[in-house]
Amino acid sequence: MLDRIDGVDARVRAYITLTPDLAMRQAAEADERLKHPDAPRLCGVPLALKDVLSTRNVKTTCGSKILGNFVPPFDATVVGMLRDAGAVTVGKTNMDEFAMGSSTENSGFFPTFNPWDLDRVPGGSSGGSAAAVAADECIAALGSDTGGSVRQPAALCGVVGMRPTYGRVSRYGLVAFASSLDQIGPITKDVKDCAILMQAISGHDALDSTSLRAEVPDYESSLHADVAGLKVGLPREYMAAGVDEGVRGVVLEAIDRLTEAGMEIVDISLPHTEYALATYYVIAPAEASANLARYNGVKYGYFDPDSDGVEELMMNSRGTGFGAEVKRRIMLGTFALSSGYYDAYYLRAQKVRTLIKRDFDRAFESVDLIATPTSPTVAFPVGEKVDDPISMYLSDVMTLPGPIAGIPGISVPCGFSEGLPVGLQFMAPPLGETVLLRAAYAYEQLAGVESATARKAV
């Protein structure tokens, strides 16, 4: 695996930090454990971690210059769980700065490239994780999904990405972007790996007060349950203008195939979908404006060495340490929370959030699942949307409503358009991970896990 990374990462640039010594040490320990028949499923499996997950004694940058030299003294809860399960962690993957972006071009260090076409983006913000899985630079990876940051890059890189129900996976040690939306999720080569990784990271954590106490089902065995009779809702709002023709065709064809497994397709409506983007871009920046306030150069991370006095040090460190998109969102969020604007923006967004959630509640009274494209387009060329934030924001229009409602979603590869991977998204009610995995697995079995590696650029 380390050789493979050596061979391709100079072109893909999926990793910010590689930890070969740690990986070799963990591999040696895993070898010992594998001698016993009861070794856990993940024992010895090489994984990559998005650089937003806190790792003890391993640099954790969040893709930002402001944390360019930050080495945390503690592990995120999920990182500890993976280590306990015997996983081997090979490195920390690239991302849009503080997970703000949909192309990994907003990394404070360098962009990551799509393994299918090195002139195109891998999606984001977990672009490094998705590219690493797609380029065989690891077996699987963890990403984080605030508005689609696991599912969208998974779709664009032709791999599986799952966003769990809000609270299913502990956020302790996940560096916060938008606390009420952030969730950690797996990015894998197939649905079965996704189930195995979900098993390893799910569960209640006393360190995260928003984590759910619900028991964790056996995800892997749930894959094989029958899907016949499952009702799949097809929301008309997600097939409207803005979805690329090629993508639409591939996704509709995929949804059609679901009937072969006995699933029933139902047209539904989620009427408040059009407000999801605006709602998201009020709530997420508002929370981010507080979450990112702590980076002031006083305690850790980058600090401006030429400043005179504490005040100037704090201002200059933030001015230089943060990139343009992060500053834009801090400004947006600060504005939305300011007195005189709070009611019109933040409070109203919270009300619309309730309406969007109600749309889903109502829909799930009549369907078990909702199917949509994961992204309105395939991977776009590097540089195409960098100077147009709105068009970049629209890349997440299919994945934003789910997090606003707190529900889980999964993206599975469902074919190609313009020679690039297309993702099919399923969404389910809260704690509906098992039905998501079942449906995605059933689709994968029908379509066959396409071994299209030959088409990849690396």
Binding site: S54, T60, C62, P73, D208
Partner: protein, 485 residues
């Protein structure tokens, strides 16, 4: 004062008190909240340091202490509460936001009854809420004259309870009484040391002054930086005078601003005016789900309510039967009260015990700079002494001297009496000493007989000296009168 005495002005005062809670751990992490004696930056963890990726977990003990306080202050406990983020940028605030409570605090709408100059006043409590303390900044200047600031993060994340009063107080004396009553309640609830000097009980005051014949407006002055009850009183008195002077000069109402109290000069100084008012951009803390304050839980907390100081004070006066000023003095010092309670447990004259405590013990403790629990004369030792006096084995004067010796040496009363000898009550023995004094002081005798009655006092002194203070003073007086009469 003069203008108000003339009926010219009315004063409006409201107080905000921040009290550190006596919990085991900090507000949102597992660090100990007993960091007072720890070296700087040693009682910290990623959570109270505000490192990337950490999350808060609510300290239930702190919530219970807050609700208990609210109940003691006659507040209503709503069915739901939540925490909010209060955003402001300052180096002592680790996350650059403070987890506090904005629109759904734990306790609302209570009151505190106080008596000032014999007048009963019911002072409203707006709310009691919970938040996290900030780190401590220490400013200094090094040998080269360069200013520096140091940060001690130990205090960061300590549980802090804020008690906000209604603007119901009309004088500095009422404000001081409110604070002392509140302090006592927190101490008797065991929720805070409420020690002002140590920063466990901090008070900010809002004060405004208005012409009595006009309307009360909205602007007010916030006064900070007072670290004793006395400084709160002085600052409010000063501010009242200053604001009246502003009105008198025709420039009222005084500008809304924040002013700091300077103890040395006895004045307040402007710190921040309205243009720099903060916009804290409060919003619900997404890392902490809202809390449901279950009635059974609140009832359970209420069941743990100890006797409150006001009730205790009434009981001391009406049932135990001590004077009101003594009762107040004991209530204001819980250790002293405990001393009193232990001493009276085996002794039938509480007022006499109170006299000894508020007079001799308090003076001796003050001279020694000791607290009641550190007293070398324990409650049992004091009672032993009182019983010696009751049985006439020592006189009142002797008892006070013996007490002093007990306090200074730690020896028992019995031991000291055994060495010094008991009181002399024997008529003949005293008469001998009196006659001797009369023989040796003919001038005093002559003076007395010439009508200078105070000369008798001189003779009494001589007798006492000769008997090393042991002669029964009443007998000595009687016999001198008899011998010279």
């Amino acid at each position: 004062m003069a203008a108000r005495a003339n009926g010219g002005y009315q004063v409006v005062i409201g107080l905000e008190v921040h009290a550190q809670l006596l919990t085991e751990s900090k507000m949102f992490c597992a660090c100990s909240s007993r960091y007072a004696d720890a070296p700087p930056n040693t009682v910290v963890c990623p959570i109270c340091l505000g490192m990337p990726g950490v999350l808060p977990v609510i300290n239930e003990q702190a919530v219970e202490m807050t609700i208990l306080t609210g109940l003691a202050l006659n507040c209503r406990i709503p069915s739901h509460a939540k925490f909010d983020r209060k955003n402001y940028a300052y180096p002592d605030l680790m996350k650059w936001y403070q987890i506090s409570q904005y629109d759904l605090p734990f306790c609302v709408g209570g009151h505190l009854d106080v008596t000032v100059d014999g007048i009963n006043r019911r002072l409203g409590i707006t709310r009691v809420h919970l938040e996290e303390d900030t780190a401590r900044m220490i400013h200094g200047r090094d040998e080269t004259g360069e200013d520096y600031s140091l940060l001690d993060v130990n205090r960061s994340g300590a549980p802090l309870m804020e008690i906000v009063s209604e603007p119901d107080m009309k004088t500095a004396a009422e404000a001081r009484e409110y604070l002392m009553s509140l302090r006592n309640i927190l101490v008797y609830l065991d929720v805070s040391t409420a020690n002002m000097q140590e920063g466990a009980f901090r008070c900010d005051a809002n004060i405004s002054v208005w012409p009595r014949d006009g309307e009360i407006g909205n602007s007010k002055v916030e006064v900070k930086n007072m670290n004793s009850f006395r400084s709160v009183y002085r600052a409010l008195e000063f501010e009242e005078e200053r604001q009246i002077a502003v009105w008198e000069s025709g420039e009222g109402p005084p500008e809304q601003e924040t002013r700091g109290w300077h103890e040395a000069s006895g004045t307040t100084v402007s710190q921040r005016t309205k243009e720099y008012a903060h916009d804290y951009r409060y919003f619900a803390e997404p890392d902490l789900p809202p809390l449901v304050l279950d009635k059974a839980w609140v009832d359970d907390i209420a069941a743990r309510m100890p006797e409150l100081p006001s009730v205790l004070e009434t009981r001391l006066i009406e049932t135990v039967g001590i004077r009101a000023d003594d009762a107040r003095q004991l209530i204001n010092n819980r250790e002293l009260l405990r001393y009193f309670e232990k001493a009276t447990a085996g002794y039938g004259d509480p007022q006499r015990v109170a006299n000894w405590i508020t007079r001799d013990l308090v003076k001796a403790l003050g001279d020694a700079g000791a607290s009641p629990s550190e007293s070398p004369v324990g409650p049992g030792d004091l009672i032993e002494l009182l019983k010696l006096e009751d049985s006439n084995r020592v006189s009142g004067k002797m008892a006070r001297d013996i007490f002093r010796t007990m306090f200074e040496t730690g020896r028992s009363a019995a031991d000291i009496v055994a060495q010094q000898g008991e009181q002399i009550t024997d008529q003949d023995e005293i008469r001998q000493a009196v006659r001797k004094a009369i023989q040796e002081n003919p001038k005093a005798v002559a003076d007395f007989q010439a009508g200078k009655t105070q000369a008798a006092g001189f003779l009494v002194g001589q007798v006492m000296r000769a008997t090393r203070g042991r002669a029964n003073p009443a007998r000595v007086n009687e016999l001198i009168a008899a011998e010279l009469g």
